[in-house]
Amino acid sequence: MIIFDFVPMWALILGLAVFFYVLLDGFDLGVGILYNFATTSADRNLLMNSIAPIWDGNETWLVLGGLGLLAAFPLAFAIILPAVYFPILVMLLALIFRGVAFEFRFRDAELRTFWDHAFGYGSVIATFAQGIVLGAFIQGFQVDGRHFSGSSFDCFTAFSLFTGLALVFGYGLLGSGWLILKTEGALQDQARRHARICFHGTLAAVGIVSLWTPFLDHDIEQRWFSWPDIGILAPVPSLTALFAVLEWRAIANPKAEFGPFLYAVLLFSLSYLGIAISLFPMIVPHHYSLWQAASSPDTQIFLGVGTLFLLPVILVYTGWSYWVFRGKVRADIGYH
């Protein structure tokens, strides 16, 4: 029997699934965050319609990410989820409110203001909760054997609250990039103003988190600030700086319609890569590596066969549904 190590493949698939989720639901949660600042009902319609046909597709990646973790690294799933019990609860409830708001807002004129708030606040709260999960994950958990052994409130720390805030700015930046792409005229100008604010917030947050994490964790400090790693990893901060400059110029340039979204995506990619580099090869920081937490090889093969076949198919038809709804969002298509 040939022994083949499927763990790196699964780490990659899971990493991509979570990353797709962060990008895709990131921009539509971001649109939801900016929704709070829309001034007229017509603008709110356009904002919502810019994501109405695709939001539930985007949210499926959350399920795929969660189930991917269960399937590939079940021990990590069984330790991490109890550790972030309340942020997960808050995120799910906020996503419920924001998800049903799409249909309800357009069909329920009497309670429209209520559903406006459900959508806007729901997006902010879900994002903030996801940021707390991220921060708690980077900090690590108290583990006893195969279980989380801390309290359900351990995940609320200064660091995790800060990453929560950071993600609100980050998703706001993605959302405003999407809106610059999908809208025109005054609404696009407004999106550019929002993009500028979110850009400053995101940049400051990325900087602070990058400096904070090495202080939290000696291993992370070693990885980034010891020779020769510092040379090998230098492209990550350098490219981040480059894309930050390009993003800044694209937001300021009224002709650049795709640039703000593109560079925001690239900034996210590098931040994500940075976190992955900091933690690799641990999936439960300080306790279990990817290999220790992996499911049985039989499980990984059985799921791998279908996944490798289906993932490209999913990407093709996801692409198709984006293609059908391409171009500027119009007042007459979608809910109104």
Partner: protein
């Protein structure tokens, strides 16, 4: 009183899944129904079918949206509240749940956008295909969830090492002993549920004289479908009963509140089962019928709860009554379908007041049966999560305190109590609007040059 995280976690799971299952019960059936309507429209070119499909698509959208958000909650429950179960069984059940995600969830979500908003953006063959793919997605979803559930009910194809399950045969895991019966019984149940919703809506529109032509078509077509489906469902339910007798006798004994193993057993129509005293109070029994129905043989032996240690018995009273509610609803449905056949033969189907009124009231019957059936099978499985192998008490997350779970349970209760009534109210509002005439303006091919109104809503 101390708060027990185990009991509260069970309540929480029951709460979120009982509400969630209502939505697939509707959307699985509606997706197939819409695909069927669009298929007839595509084949005949008669716009009435497209109008009807447009009407149901708007109701489907409300149900599907709520199904997605309440469904996203479900996999996270495994991690937050049942982490030891997840750790132990992930090697087996995680691919099933993940396959549901990558086959079904993405298929539905990918084509739903086109189905809802693309009525005027894509040619009719593409729209019909999207409807078929969404329907297929809902069936895949049902398949994988029931594969998982059936394995928990009748586990096979595994070996146990240090408390962790490892797969030995995927064939035995996928097609566990109860799976084929559970799958057919559930899908038929979802179709019947949808059927009664369509009947109820058509009846109330007819009653008010709205969308006459469309309502008659809906009523007639659905009644024919149910004439086949309701008896079929009763037959499939009987098969699943035989399967339970064979593979989960303790569960069957709990469902029947049957304490002593015996041949020529009576059927208990009604009783107050007393778990402590191991007996039934105020029982109404029919001699011999128990053996006849459960084993298809008057001399057949029906298992008794006393065959099993006390700690291995389900809380009898819940599956006992849930099962009786389900069967009662089934018989009521059969009576309604029979009455429909008779009225059709007398050519009075569309203008018999009492029948239309009865159909209106029968709209939620399917949901009652689905929840009762699900309760029967899930509570009947207790005290196990993996039947006979892993106990529910060993499955719960060890770090949780009673107050943690009480907080989360109260949050879920509050939010669902806002969300579900709101969804129902909106669906009723769409129903009251009736079938809209402008729902039949599809494009022939490509994108329309002039702005058109997609999925007309009555608000705004």
């Amino acid at each position: 009183m101390t708060l027990d995280p185990l009991v509260l976690s069970r309540l929480q799971f029951a709460w979120v899944i009982a509400w969630h299952i209502l939505l697939p019960a509707l959307t699985v059936g509606l997706a197939s129904y819409i695909a069927l309507l669009e298929g007839i429209w595509f084949a005949t070119g008669n716009e009435i079918w497209f109008r009807i499909s447009g009407f149901w698509t708007r109701i489907f959208a409300v149900g599907f949206g709520m199904g997605v958000v309440s469904g996203v909650v479900m996999p996270f429950q495994f991690g937050t509240n049942w982490s030891r179960f997840s750790d132990a069984t992930a090697n087996i059940i995680s691919p099933m749940l993940a396959y549901e995600g990558i086959m079904a969830f993405t298929l539905e979500a990918g084509f739903l956008g086109v189905m809802l908003f693309g009525r005027h953006l894509v040619p009719r063959w593409a729209h019909f295909s999207s409807a078929v793919l969404v329907a297929l997605g809902t069936l895949f979803s049902t398949f994988w969830i029931l594969v998982t559930n059936s394995w928990m009910q009748t586990p096979g194809g595994y070996r146990l090492v240090n408390g962790i399950f490892y797969p030995t045969s995927w064939r035995e895991i996928l097609f566990s002993a109860s799976f084929p019966y559970r799958f057919m019984h559930t899908v038929a149940g979802f179709y019947v549920t949808t059927g009664f919703v369509v009947l109820g809506v058509a009846a109330s529109l007819l009653w008010k004289g709205k969308s006459r032509e469309e309502s008659r078509l809906m009523l007639s077509m659905t009644l024919w479908l149910l004439t086949a489906l309701v008896p079929l469902q009763i037959f499939l339910g009987d098969l699943q009963g035989l399967n339970t007798l064979h593979h989960q006798p303790a569960k069957l004994a709990a469902i029947e509140a049957h304490w002593n193993r015996e041949a020529r057993a009576p059927l208990t129509l009604f009783a107050i089962p007393d778990q402590q005293a191991e007996t039934n109070r105020d029982a109404i029994e029919v001699p011999l019928l128990g053996s006849l129905i459960l084993t298809h043989d008057v001399d057949g032996v029906v298992p008794g709860l006393k065959d099993y240690p006390r700690q291995d018995r389900a809380p009898v009273i819940i599956p006992f009554f849930a099962f009786r509610i389900m069967v009662g609803v089934g018989l009521l449905m059969l009576a309604l379908v029979a009455a429909g056949l008779w009225l059709r033969w007398r050519r009075k189907l569309y203008n018999t007041g009492w029948f239309l009124e009865a159909l209106k009231w029968a709209t939620p019957l399917g949901f009652v049966a689905v929840v009762a059936g699900w309760t029967t099978t899930e509570v009947g499985r207790q005290p196990w999560t993996v039947y006979g192998v892993m106990r529910t008490a060993q499955s719960v997350t060890p770090s949780l305190t009673g107050s943690d779970v009480l907080i989360s349970l109260l949050c879920y209760v509050t939010v669902y109590c806002v969300m579900f009534p709101a969804g129902l109210w909106l669906a009723l509002r769409i129903v009251r609007g009736g079938v809209l005439p402008e729902e039949a303006t599809p494009v022939e091919a490509g994108r329309p040059a002039a702005p058109v109104k997609p999925v007309p809503g009555e608000a705004a």
